[in-house]
Symmetry: D2
Subunit: 353 residues, 4 copies
């Protein structure tokens, strides 16, 4: 541990992704959190804001104002856990000071800045950096991640949808114009901002859909799936809010081009695709994932169904939206960017039940 550890920073500690980064970094053997920022909480220690960190070294880190010079003076890599729009400037400031950046916001995910402007209602101010950024999905871009200084950490929904459909599209097994992604997310996905709509009593013991067909993760999903399919495609992406803290389960529908394969045949394709990817677990035929099986981890669990009645593949993928869908994936990217093994500090078993 000691002098060898890499000094890292965390900009934006008060949201759930910041909290999750603190949880992971608390026990990361190679990263040393030396700077944590928050405009609202500056001056307090991390453990004052998050008593669950009491008794750990990380709890003693003092929160400061987000000053790029001060951060750059201490850190060689920084995680940005601030809203889109704000992240791009901070990223630019830090990169200009020779600090590597993993941005958890959406600011560098879309290759097409027009698309960004359209879906996020904001002109991009750093188009050059967009061209440089690498989309931080290790199963697709591990090598590029290892070489870049700027990672656009994937959205939570896109992570679950892309990993679930990847083998189908890369192998040209399904029609590209009938894909439906019906996704369900835990409430940490809605953020930690005070709001009536995400109060306990507005979410508990209930279930609802939202932003059907117009969620901002749609272009991100389509960008990566189109690339995999080799042609532009549109996806019907439809999110729902689950009364749980963590977890995304996406039920993915696609029609086979040829006749329905057996589930065993499809399993073989998936198993082969993900053979070398330790964080994707293809469940044996007959089993379907549960969000709790991946709770607190980097795993993406995938279950497969082939329905000959409708000639459809029904793929179910489950991730922890906070860990795999955000902060854990960010640490995985940082690992690669730092020459560390992908799984460094990320091999915790799921918290079950």
């Amino acid at each position: 541990m000691s002098t060898e550890r890499i000094p890292v920073g965390l900009v934006g500690v008060t949201g759930y992704t910041g909290m999750e980064l603190a949880r992971i970094l608390a026990r990361h053997p190679s990263f040393d959190l030396v700077a944590a920022t928050s405009r609202a909480e500056a001056g307090r220690k991390l453990a004052d804001v998050y008593p669950f960190l009491l008794g750990m070294d990380i709890g003693a880190v003092e929160i400061s104002q987000p000053d790029p010079d001060q951060i750059a003076a201490k850190c060689s890599l920084v995680f940005l856990a601030v809203p889109h729009g704000a992240a791009m400037d901070m990223a630019a400031d830090l990169l200009a000071r020779d600090v590597k950046v993993v941005d958890l916001s959406a600011d560098f995910r879309l290759r097409d800045t027009d698309s960004y402007a359209q879906w996020y209602g904001l002109e991009h101010r750093h188009a050059a950096l967009v061209r440089e950024a690498v989309y931080g999905l290790p199963e697709l871009y591990a090598d590029a991640i290892a070489r870049t200084r700027l990672v656009a950490n994937p959205g939570c929904y896109p992570t679950s949808v892309i990993l679930g459909l990847l083998p189908l599209l890369r192998n040209g097994l399904v029609e590209t114009d009938t894909i439906v992604a019906d996704s369900k997310s835990g409430a940490t996905g809605a953020g930690r901002k005070a709001a009536v709509g995400t109060l306990f009593c507005e979410v508990a013991d209930s279930f609802r859909a939202y932003n059907l067909g117009r969620h901002r993760h749609t272009p991100e999903i389509e960008q990566e799936l189109s690339r995999l399919a080799g042609i532009p495609l549109a996806v019907s992406f439809n999110p729902h809010l689950l009364p749980i803290n963590r977890g995304i389960l996406s039920t993915l529908y696609a029609r086979f081009i040829d006749e329905t394969p057996t589930v065993e045949a499809l399993y073989d394709i998936y198993a082969e695709t993900y053979a070398k990817h330790e964080f994707v677990r293809v469940l044996p035929p007959g089993r379907l994932p549960e969000t709790r099986w991946v709770r607190g981890t980097m795993y993406c669990d995938i279950g497969l169904v082939c329905d000959p009645r409708t000639n459809r593949a029904v793929v179910v993928s489950a991730i922890d939206n906070l860990c795999r869908g955000a902060s854990g994936q960010a640490v995985a990217c940082a690992n690669l960017m730092s020459g560390l093994p992908l799984a460094e500090g990320l091999s915790m078993p799921p918290l079950m039940p």
Copy 2:
């Protein structure tokens, strides 16, 4: 109230549908529960088994063994809340004794007894009664329900799916070969039998899919949708288990045949279809249902989205699986069979939150 009330019976009190019937009948102004049966609990009073009924007249009803003669001696109408397979014989026994029957099981829902045998693994022993039974969805069959002596009370998932797609199919607006129903149900739908899989700690803070493409409600859904469409169709029906007690939310996907209408145009069609059906609430454009808005009630709430990007209708329907999806709908049918208003004893507001 008094001497005018209609004496009714309840066969099978120990499951959640039996419990819900007791809740509704406790305050029904025109039905008087005079017989309640359970092999396991015979000899106890309802309020001993269900302390939440303490202090209500219904709590004093003594549970008896399910003897058709004794039931028929007391009741003019009986609700069957026993498993499929067992229900059909009890129904036959009671009908033979001039008692009207509302069967909450699947035994009389499928017109085609071959389909029944195939999906339920059981030869039907009362095919003649199948031909006589009326599918108890008031929005489709109110008149026939009022005239029959045997109602096959619809399944919970089919109620949500059929009501959600009815206006699209009846008006020929969508393709019939690309329909996907992604349904999510609360855990009361899994029944009240001791089982590890539905223990609190196996369901709470988690989410999972099950029986994808092979749930037994599939042929029931297809039977009614085919009839509405005028041609046989297959549906990709895929259920999920929510960590909530009550509620089904179905997200329904169908591609428009012509170009995408405005959501306002689609709303008008839905609003007109359901104008005279007090228990279906079509939400204004821009609003999507939440299961809690229908908790404890007969309402089916429907939200509409038209997605021009994929030329799809995305319809979201929400019901309370126990009330509208089972026992409340059974009471509504019993109301019609007894010459009472559909909503008699069923106009409770949702329990919010």
Copy 3:
């Protein structure tokens, strides 16, 4: 229903108590909601704010600004569901205009205005009205409630604690200086204000204590218990936050003065005390209440344990904090103030499960 119904108003619709009043009034046979106010939502209809009210008459009520003249012109009785401090002035304004008032806030609960000032940090501006107000617990003050024009509706915790201890103290069975009330409340008790601390993800799958020994309901509990005991007493009252929507369960500890009675003997005392009070259900020995058994209702369920090892009575009382602990009790008081039966419009069975 028609012309006989009593026109009532609701000041403050946007909180959970306002929402619950709307739910109850939606089906009340004798009250007609003719005015509903909210500064934030004025101009909208109730069903626009609360879509669960769609399809009911009450949903069409238009929300207005809280103007005493306009309210008094329409209503003969008004429910105040606004914060303490604000309620007292509105109560004075309405009483001056000959409108009866049921105040759900704490403003008129404490007889002693010094105590009010001390616990609420606020000088009382209407001491004369305090002397006139009746504490709205029907089991204690039904006659006075029927005659007053101003009811101080009890707090949720006090309702559960007072009803649970009443027979012990009135009969002088327990020491008055060792009483402990360990109370657990659902999250609706925390109100419907946007706040990080009551977000779903801050409450779900967790449990915590708060305000131990210094919750504002303490003096209210002590006021009524002292009156029952005939001497001043102090209670150790300690609230906790449950990850559920509705329900308070209070576990109440008191040492017997004489030797430990049998639980049957204690049951007889409780049963006799509450024999004529339909909304208190004393459970038979061996049974303990569950919050779900009273969900959505006016019931206070009480379970009894006599522990000879420690010579203690352990009494468990359960209520629905929103219905019995707030809005339902307010309607019960309004019933009495209007010459109606206590239970008018309040005899709904619990929503189970």
Copy 4:
């Protein structure tokens, strides 16, 4: 990791404590699970029974029948996660074969076998072993644990109650005849047996007390507290069931003998008592614990209140009932018995939220 690892066994994998042991051992650096037994699941692999273990070495362990010879041939230490009554014989069998044992059941916790017979309705068959067993609470018995071959792993409730009251009793600060422990536990504490009472729909969105004054953990609590106080004492111990998976929060009431100290003074006493115990975190005055802050960990968090109005200490202690209250504590004891640091493999941060 390799050849140095200590081979351990797990008897009883199908309950929640067995599951939790698997979770912890999956990443333990010094223990190697080489035997796992279950009568019901013998022949399957751990990951077949628990898919959340897929992709980990431990998942490949094959479950066998619980044969003492076979277990002893492979293991130097065994965790017993089977019910009381069954555990004592297996412990004797394994000890006779020179295998160290950590018994998670109650069989060796009570020094007094008469008390065992009375509370568990069972004559103890291995009284000599009872005398030899060490109560596995590291804060009290670390040295003895390190030297014994048989640990009686503490119950979940006793762990939370004893740690919460220890400084008060050891320092003689409170009366010993008025102690009340009001404890609330998550549902994993009820075990993983199929039962209607712990179905999701019987526990969710509700709260209840059970076994008031007669829970089997009472004599265990009294044994250790009496020893700390130096005189026999009786405690009013009263458990409740929370609708959460993991976590116990105990609210502990005791009257000061002298006048009420300041909370700062009491904090100093607690902080000093636990200064060298890394897994007890005394929260600063003004803070109260939440079960989620210790989720998945060995921490016992303690919050303190001094109430001068009633001269009472109100101590709130929170643990994870499965980790600290069972399997984690068992691994901590095994660490000590094996000459390893107490915290080996147990330093995971809490899963928040």
